[in-house]
Amino acid sequence: MSHFQNFSSIHDAFDAKKISATELTKEYLAKIEASKHNAFLTVLKDRALKQAASADAIIAAKGKVPRAEMPLLGIPLGIKDVLTMDGVRTTCASKLLDNYIPPYTATAVERLEKAGAISIGKLNMDEFAMGGSNENSAYGPVDHPTHPGYVPGGSSGGSAAAVGADLCAAALGTDTGGSIRQPAHYSGIVGMKPTYGTVSRYGLVAFASSLDQIGPMTKSVADSATLLEVMGGYDPLDSTSSERTLEKFSQIAAKEPDWKNLRIGVPKEYWVDGIADDVANRVRESLKFFEKKGAKLVDVSLPHTQYSVSVYYIVAVSEASSNLSRFDGVRFGVRPASLKDAKDLADFYKKVRAQFGPEVKRRIILGTFALSSGYYDAYFRKACQVRRLITHDFNEAFKHCDFIAAPVSPTTAFKQKDQTMDPLKMYLNDILTIPANLSGLPGISVPCGKGDHDLPIGLQLLGPAFSDGGLLSLAHAFEKGRA
């Protein structure tokens, strides 16, 4: 079996005729078949082989991979099952969408495929991206890529496991409160949440519209830069997508940061109680690495961090309660057999919506409550106000530093069934990733070593809005320097 560290080594192998896109795809299909991770919900065998054949035809015609025009030619990617593909079942890991086949393709997926990417399958996740351990999937939990019995993180757990276990070359995830960065940290891969508005959300089944962002989950920072460069940029179908011209991320990422003039912020509020020693140690070592390179470490303060979890669990669930209302069994949502005895329309809805998993139900109920008349001002409006304060914190902090370095999550991956009984504990795990979503800022998790039980640990780097290029360059230098 071949094993490639990044896209360019795959392209080198294509160019040297060591392997064809079809052979590579077949190898991955075989690995997926043999794997016990439960990372894939749908494997697109025929479709992927067809794409691989056309990739091989292009390579044969051109003599080598046309990397500039088709930077992803023949690269097998996994797609989180929250992104639509025309004619391909899209479940969001929910029973309600078990039979949903969208008639259109998400902009991000469309752009990747246009650049030659092969979509090898749809990846498992927490139901409707709600969760941090991938134990909330209606299709069963996903296993950690290297540590059986442990969670891979979530909600993009299938993506993290598939990339970590090399079941595909890279994957797409989505990050609403840390759902890319946290599983990347748990699973020992690179995961980036771009600035809100960088990647079109068209075709991303919404959890919380003002927080959701699609991002790359890869084995290397360079691959993340390539994916982001291809799928990012203005999309007329998404009013919230940014109209600014996209930077050449793959070129910027390869540049060495200007270490002498670089200030790395260390927010004191991110060193909360409960940060495990192994996580704290690896992050401290990472800070020393930057210092050694010549960067200046700066203490910064993000005083409203403590409110971020509360704000998030009001804003996200409020938007979710509305976003998920279309799954009512009329046009979307499986109709259970019990519907035959539905007494009236209300009973009909009740029976259809009973199919949501407990976490999704909990969030719909919370969100409906937070928006209801008499409570809106106390909850939703207040949360929006505090959200602005959290953004303001970052604006102030970035006056004193260029980027922020912090842990991704207080601990390494935990064992399955360890925390699912305690939703509040689960929610608090997100305190270090949520602020970037609330503020729309870019963040990346890049491996920084191993902890107890040899479990992977990621370093989180955050930057100001639209500093995605600089963030990738810093992460790339860190990755290179550590190796």
Partner: protein
């Protein structure tokens, strides 16, 4: 005039939904109207839907710029302030015809606020305040069969503006006049086709009663979805009598939504306030706030045509129309346009403006209004054009056709039978104004009725009508009646 117990006062406010006449829907590129030449009832269900307006998971709305333009135009025509920052919100409720489970509308920051509309109440004028105008998407339509229901999404995502009045109206007639005035404005400025039958212009009426002189309004009931000027007056009239009877018998009006059944001329309870929805409005995160530039708003203002009230006054002063006739011909944009286009053509034919206006208005307020009502068709949907009308006015004023002939010609033109010239020819509508031919016919009639002619000659004037009639009959109704009378009178001297 509706009447009720004089001890009570009535308070009415209207919420009017007008469909904007844009080519495409508000949040996607699907056609917003039936294809050219087709009626809404003739198109297939769901013919104009896409993943966005069908509410597919993952799709996002994209605002149609033309909707902003039309909503702004309507606001300016109604004297509203236009918000430079307005926000779309989600109105959440479950209903099978609502694809996303929420309607994208506007809540606390609507695009237009604080306008006024002047209405005629008898001989008086009254100003009704417009509280707000907001933009929103329409829902689909449920079709209930025996044991199942179907949903048609043709209307889903079609752009609407909701025009909300203050509770300023005090009688069913005022409400009707207000609804007509709003209809005249939106059709004149061209932002709505005004088709009531197809539901493109409909209203909800909030009605309450209170003891005369009271300072606080009574509890209101809302009558939903009335799509006719006549029915809105009738529904309110019924509702007033229902509420007064209720209050007088010691009962209390409950806040509720009611439906009007025109066949029974009654309103029925649909749902009470206890069952009312909590819509859980919140700002739509998929759309960025709408920011309008002052200069852009001013540019829209410059495109406003003459409004119905100004037009009406001008028709009275310049064309010598009666206030009533001027009111009818300015009641829709299409009627007024037809009249003005016609007058432009008749002036080229050298017909005096007032004469032409009088003649054309007679046709517009008479035969054309009748046909329009009968066939439930706006004049713009018929085959009748200003060229037809101008030619017909010319034929009438030059005595080429009689008034009966004119009616026949008009009906033929309405149905698309061709030019007025060819219609007159085809239907043989030309009046006989040839003196020789008429004299011959008179001779024949006199010969047949020698006795009566002698009586008339000896002073029995009443018989003149008889002779005119008989001669007319002989010419097959084509004789020019004025000329005929003149010629017969000459025989008496």
């Amino acid at each position: 005039m509706a009447t009720w117990d004089p001890e009570f006062e009535v308070v009415i406010g209207l919420e009017i939904h007008a469909q904007l006449a844009t080519e495409t829907k508000i949040f996607c590129g699907c056609p917003a109207k039936a294809p050219e030449g087709k009626n809404v009832s003739e198109v297939d269900s769901n013919w104009n839907t896409c993943p966005v307006c069908a509410g597919h998971p993952g799709t996002l709305p994209k605002l149609n710029a033309r909707v902003l333009e039309y909503a702004t135009k309507a606001g300016l025509a109604m004297g509203c302030q236009i918000r430079e920052n307005s926000v779309f919100s989600r109105k959440n409720y479950f209903y099978p015809d609502l694809p996303k489970g929420y309607q994208i509308s506007q809540f606390d920051k609507p695009i237009c606020e604080n306008g006024t509309i002047e209405i005629d109440v008898g001989k008086d004028k009254k100003t009704v305040r417009v509280q707000r105008i907001h933009m929103e998407e329409d829902a689909g339509k449920n079709l209930h069969m025996d044991d199942f229901s179907l949903v048609n999404l043709n209307r889903a995502c079609v752009p609407l503006i909701e025009i909300v009045s203050e509770p300023d109206m005090r009688s069913p007639e005022e409400a009707g006049a207000y609804m007509r005035a709003v209809h005249a404005i939106v059709t004149t400025i061209g932002v709505c086709d005004g088709n009531l039958q197809e539901g493109n212009f409909r209203c909800d009426a909030n009605v309450s009663v209170m003891p005369k002189g009271s300072k606080t309004f009574g509890t209101r009931a809302e009558i939903k979805n009335v799509n006719s000027f006549r029915f809105v007056e009738k529904a309110i009239e019924y509702e007033i009598s229902r509420q007064i009877a209720l209050v007088k018998s010691g009962g209390k009006v409950v806040q509720e939504t009611r439906l009007y059944d025109s066949a029974q001329n009654k309103t029925f309870s649909m749902r009470s306030k206890e069952e009312a929805h909590d819509y859980r409005y919140f700002p739509e995160p998929d759309l960025i706030p709408v920011k309008l530039d002052k200069n852009w708003i001013e540019k829209i203002r410059e495109t406003l045509p003459e409004l119905p009230a100004q037009k009406r006054a001008r028709f009275v002063s310049e064309l010598g129309l009666s206030a009533y006739d001027a009111g009818v011909v300015t009641s829709t944009g299409s009627l007024a346009k037809l009249l003005e286009d016609t007058l432009a053509l008749t002036s080229k034919k050298g017909i005096d403006a007032k004469t032409a206006a009088k003649s054309a208005t007679n046709l517009l307020t008479g035969e054309i209004s009748r046909l329009s009502k009968e066939e439930e068709k706006d004049v713009s949907e018929s085959k009748l054009t200003a060229v037809h009308l101008a030619d017909l006015v010319h034929a009438i004023t030059s005595s080429l056709v009689s008034s009966t002939g004119a009616k026949t010609a008009l009906l033929a033109a309405w149905n698309g039978e061709g030019t007025i010239e060819s219609i007159i020819e085809k239907h043989g509508l030309k009046q006989v104004s040839d003196t020789g031919a008429l004299e011959a016919a008179i001779d024949a009639v006199i010969a047949e009725n020698a006795g009566q002619f002698a009586e008339m000659k000896s002073g029995k004037d009443k018989l003149l009508g008889f002779f005119v009639g008989q001669t007319m009959k002989k010419t097959g109704g084509k004789a020019n009646p004025g000329l005929l009378q003149e010629l017969i009178k000459k025989r008496l001297s």
